[in-house]
């Protein structure tokens, strides 16, 4: 499904050029469950941002379902994110003044789905994550685990094929973290391609495919070992 070839991403910091991704190549299949590990600053987030088209590589090729994405314009990138990608962030990124319901409404509004059709989708999404009785709660009235569940529901409400999670358990306690991973894994079982960046080796090892990064390069990939 995904093919990155010879990707570089450089940042200009003062007079210095920082290379966040250094000639990185990887293939990812549909339905794969992959964890990305590595020290802080090794380029994990940059990789995820490029995969989600929030960022563009300085050079290299990114093909998604046989389509070259590095030449898309801003509008097309936005449409790609809307259709294909679900993002999960470490800090949840819920809009504080909107209820759980309101936050789930956002992707549906951006897609232009009329209000009466939204209701059913939101109720179902909240129900799937055990949040039915939290629909009208503001984020600050929810626990960390509940907030991240709302964020997952929001990311998945339009059923994108690819879920990108950047340290989704980083702000959660061990118990909620494990719970979160289990939710994500159940999504994986339904066919969603899962890419999870994590610091926690225990959680990372649960993935069928594990990747280790250092200095913008992949230095370990369990698939290549098996292959």
């Amino acid at each position: 499904m995904i093919s990155l070839h010879d990707i570089c991403r450089e940042f200009q910091v003062g007079d210095e050029r920082v290379r966040a991704l250094d000639h990185l190549s990887i293939q990812i299949d549909r339905g794969e469950y992959m964890s990305i590990m590595g020290a802080s600053g090794s380029g994990k987030s940059t990789l995820l941002n490029i995969l989600g088209l929030l960022d563009m590589p300085s050079s290299g090729s990114y093909r998604f379902e046989e389509k070259e994405l590095t030449r898309l314009d801003e509008e097309e990138c936005a449409a790609f994110r809307r259709e294909k990608i679900g993002f999960i962030f470490q800090s949840f990124h819920l809009i504080p003044r909107l209820s759980a319901y309101g936050n789930l409404e956002l992707p549906l509004m951006l897609k232009g789905i009329p209000p009466h059709e939204r209701r059913e989708m939101i109720v179902k999404a909240l129900g799937d994550l055990g949040l039915s009785n939290r629909a009208n709660h503001l984020p600050k009235e929810l626990s960390g685990g509940q907030q991240q569940r709302v964020a997952i529901a929001r990311a998945m409400i339009l059923k994108p094929p690819l879920l990108l999670a950047d340290e989704p358990t980083g702000n959660l306690d061990t118990h909620s973290g494990r719970e979160m991973i289990e939710i994500l894994e159940s999504l994986g079982e339904q066919g969603v391609t899962l890419l999870i960046v994590t610091h926690d080796p225990q959680l990372g090892r649960r993935a069928r495919r594990q990747i280790l990064m250092r200095d913008g390069q992949i230095i370990g990939d369990t698939r290549s070992v098996l292959a």
């Binding site: 929030l54 509008e75 990608i85 800090s91 990124h93 809009i95 956002l106 009329p114 929001r154």
Partner: protein, 401 residues
């Protein structure tokens, strides 16, 4: 994104910061309300002045001695005309079939005294025709005699205000009053009417033309007022007056004719411009409100960076983010504008009630102009922060840096 969703999203954002929103609304309300009130003031003044001109009487021409080079300008202040306007000129003009009647005018100031009371008063020398030409009404007695225009009787008609000042409410018809060095018999008192433009008849005393010429020792007329048969006759009457005077003044039409309707339209234009000007001045206060909107929106954009990043991650294109923030600015300016409009329109009758002498009148265009400027304010001053929001890099926005 649907329009109703954008609007709903904006309302939620604005109501999340009530104090800020209220402050901007207040600024907008004050600006828009002052646009409405000030233009109502200007329009009221315009209607008042043109109304006063109309009340002078209909289809009048004012014949002034001396000629001006530019048409429609003011008559010469300095320099004397080679030929004075005379009572005979006035009578000659009235012979035309296009002209209903004429009234000669001599104007001066003289001390008018009765008993121990004395005041300097405008003295108008004219004929019986003045009553009809200026549509004057006599409350007591009669107006100037209409038997012989050349007779210098020592009779006078008092304006209503002057009468009240000198005599209170006493009926003084038949009594004597001193004007300058002569004693005049009071033959009539004018009925009250609203103040008029130019000469305030209610504060003047009217005497026969020859008497005024003698009193001021001035044989020339100040002007001749010509009342045309009807409005259609005005242009031809004007030409005929020029022809008659040319014959009578030895081949030169050394006069200036001012049409009353031209005077009305001049004042009308001046006051329309004035109304626009005060409206525009009030609209400048909108810039202040606009800058406030921009300022607050700028703060909002930096505070909501991570939200903007999120919207982009969820697939909102640049123009969508722009629309969301522009709609917030527009909503602020438009609701402030509508509230200001309501406030302004409500205060106009209130001011009219409190100050009944002068009627404020809201011109319809100012309502639309106020709303249009409110919308423009929101669009102009909201676009800079909206653009800033739309251009944020999603990755840095999400990191909240």
């Amino acid at each position: 994104m649907r329009i109703d969703d954008v609007v709903r999203f904006s309302i939620k954002s604005l109501s999340a910061y009530p104090a800020r929103t209220a402050l901007i609304l207040l600024a907008m309300v004050i600006s828009i309300a002052s646009v409405i009130i000030l233009t109502s003031l200007g329009e009221g003044a315009r209607l008042y002045v043109t109304g006063q001109f109309r009340s002078l009487g209909s289809h009048l021409l004012f014949v002034l001695p001396g000629r001006t080079e530019t048409t429609g300008g003011l008559p010469p202040i300095f320099g004397t005309a080679p030929h004075d306007l005379t009572i005979d000129d006035s009578i000659a003009l009235a012979h035309s079939v296009l002209i209903e009647r004429t009234a000669p005018i001599v104007i001066g100031a003289a001390d008018v005294s009765y008993g121990s009371k004395e005041r300097e008063v405008t003295v108008i020398g004219s004929s019986h025709n003045l009553k009809n030409v200026f549509e004057l009404k006599v409350a007591k007695g009669r107006f100037l005699p209409d038997d012989d225009i050349y007779r210098s009787d020592r009779v006078c008609v008092l304006g209503e205000k002057l009468h009240k000042e000198l005599f209170g409410h006493r009926d003084v018809v038949g009594e004597w009053v001193r004007i300058g060095n002569y004693r005049f018999r009071i033959i009539g008192i004018l009925a009250p009417r609203g103040a008029s433009v130019g000469i305030d008849m209610s504060d003047a005393v009217m005497i026969p033309t020859p008497t005024a010429q003698m009193l001021f020792d001035r044989p020339a007329l100040f002007r001749i007022i010509v009342k045309a048969k009807n409005k259609q006759a005005l242009p031809r009457a004007e030409q005929e007056i020029l022809d008659t005077i040319r014959i009578r003044h030895g081949g030169e039409a050394d006069i200036t004719i001012i049409r009353q309707d031209a005077m009305i339209s001049t004042f009308d234009n001046i006051l329309k411009t004035l109304t626009w000007a005060v409206g525009a001045i009030a609209a400048i206060s909108l810039i202040v409100a606009g800058i406030l909107i921009m300022n607050v929106m700028m703060v909002a954009v930096s505070q909501r960076k991570s939200e903007i990043g999120l919207l982009k991650a969820l697939g909102a294109p640049t123009h969508q983010v722009m629309r969301i923030f522009l709609s917030e600015a527009l909503m602020l300016s438009l609701s402030g504008g509508v509230l200001g409009l309501i406030f302004g329109l409500a205060s106009v009758p209130l001011i009219n009630y409190l100050i009944p002498d002068f009627v404020l009148q809201t011109p319809v265009w100012s309502i639309f102009a106020a709303l249009a400027t409110a919308i423009a304010t929101g669009l102009i001053f909201g676009s800079i922060p909206a653009l800033k929001a739309a251009r944020l890099n999603p990755v840095t926005a999400l990191s909240g840096k």
